[in-house]
């Protein structure tokens, strides 16, 4: 990826390695602000995918509590009950810490499997946390976003890797 010639101050100074992952994850959540009006869910959860790919690429970069702030931003933009993504994403990062502790080898396919489990668990969890008694939607509604999310994950890993190389370039 070509580094933008006129990137904002925050992306040029010494704080660049710190802010690029955070801002790119928030940008992933902000995809749902795109001016498309749809009556059924049609896009994968990009914020979650960015979080997972950054975390799997750089396990030491973020403490688990970073997911609290990122999840807060995601909740505000997606219209979920405040706290949904905050809680679920933080639990996911703690679980990934545990996985890293017990798994010595981890290749591309393994990361995809881990991401698949995380996406399914988090989307299902979000459905249950947002389901109030009396609401008439079914769990099957999240199926399109989950499948799209699993299929889009390898692409976002590439995007993250490119951003990572740009981030660490002087």
């Amino acid at each position: 990826m070509m580094p933008p010639r006129f990137a904002p101050e925050i992306l040029r100074g010494p704080a660049k390695p710190l802010w690029v992952p955070i801002l790119s994850t928030i940008a992933g959540s902000a995809v749902c602000l795109l001016p498309i009006v749809a009556t059924s869910p049609a896009l994968p959860p990009f914020g979650l995918l960015m979080l997972l790919s950054w975390r799997l690429l750089r396990p030491e970069m973020w403490p688990a509590s970073m997911a609290l702030a990122l999840g807060f931003a995601d909740d505000l933009m997606s219209g979920h009950f405040l706290g949904t993504s905050m809680a679920l994403w933080t639990v996911a990062l703690l679980a990934l810490d545990w996985v890293d502790h017990h798994m010595v080898w981890r290749d591309y396919w393994m990361e995809w499997v881990i991401a698949t489990v995380a996406i399914v668990a988090i989307q299902t969890g979000a459905w249950f946390l947002n389901h109030r008694p009396g609401m008439t939607d079914t769990l099957a509604n999240i199926l399109p976003t989950v499948i799209l999310g699993i299929l889009a994950f390898p692409m976002l890993v590439r995007v993250t890797a490119m951003l990572d190389r740009w981030r660490l370039r002087l």
Partner: protein, 291 residues
């Protein structure tokens, strides 16, 4: 590749404490977040300020980009309209002649209706529309079905107000920011609208299923009361939605339930009209006692 040794503690006390504090913050955060979800369950309008600011900020981004999207999609439609223009013209002229006759008949009916209502002393308080706003976006991921309207609490929009387009009902205002508000679409699982079938007058309750379709349940016992192609309009029962707004068309009947699709497609409409909350006449005027 082998994963980097994770969270290596080493002998540095500072690093050890830092790691421990990180986990404590994470766990406390999870508990707080769970509590916030719980609060939101009992009061869906909780944290209105933070959410309102987010709606405003998001609408700023979306509104600018929406112009480009509309221009592109409009261009596609206009190019398409040139093909088959002659046939379409003739067809439209035939349709117009038929519709004009219907319109005249409808005008006569309206006159007769007002006269009969005056005779029956029925007083209706159908509120005039509050304002028209632009629909600029919607949640395209996740399970809730919201759209964003470019008008907020400074324009007088309040949660609960019904929103409709020319084609029919779109939903109601869920929460407001200062300059933008979130509309709960009919297809959201939380939305329920009391409707009526104009064909036979059967009252029913319509709720969203979250995947773009609606479910209609009859409020009368026995018999299949729905037919494919039936139109559903609001009944006005219980207020909020004024009566006789077109809502949906039934596409499939399953026993005493039916699947319907909304008439107004929020993706296709540009402007939506916000109405004040409809309050049905509480008590009927007593009839004049006969002398």
């Amino acid at each position: 590749m082998a994963a980097p040794r994770h969270r290596r503690r080493g002998f540095s006390r500072r690093v050890q404490y830092g790691l421990f504090a990180g986990y404590v913050i994470a766990v406390v955060g999870i508990v707080v977040a769970a509590a916030m979800v719980l609060v939101a369950h009992f009061d869906p309008r909780a944290f209105a300020t933070a959410r309102g600011v987010a709606i405003d900020a998001g609408a700023g981004l979306t509104g600018v980009a929406r112009i480009g999207v509309r221009t592109l999609s409009d261009a596609g439609t206009e190019i398409g309209a040139y093909f088959d223009a002659a046939n379409q013209n003739a067809q439209l002229k035939r349709d117009l002649a038929v519709e004009r006759r219907h319109a005249i008949a409808a005008k006569a009916l309206i006159l007769e209706n007002t006269r009969l209502k005056k005779l029956a002393l029925v007083v209706e308080h159908l509120p005039p529309p509050l304002l028209s706003g632009r629909l600029i976006g919607s949640t395209i991921s996740g399970q809730r079905r919201f759209a964003t309207l470019a008008a907020g609490s400074t324009d007088g929009v309040r949660p609960g107000m019904p929103v409709r387009s020319v084609e029919g009902l779109i939903g109601r205002v869920y929460e407001t920011g200062l300059f933008a508000s979130r509309i709960l679409l009919l297809t959201d699982g939380d939305s329920a609208v009391p409707v009526r079938m104009p064909r036979n007058g059967v009252a029913a309750l319509m709720s969203g299923r979250g995947d773009g379709s609606l479910e209609i349940r009859g409020l009368t016992a026995g018999g299949s009361t729905f037919r494919r192609g039936d139109l559903a309009v609001t009944s006005g029962t219980g207020g909020i939605y004024a009566p006789n707004i077109p809502v949906a068309v039934i596409t499939a009947v399953q026993g005493d339930r039916a699947v319907a699709y909304p008439l107004a497609d929020p993706a296709a409409v540009d402007f939506a009209t916000v109405y004040p909350i409809y309050q049905p006449p509480v008590e009927e005027q007593p009839a004049q006692p006969k002398p």
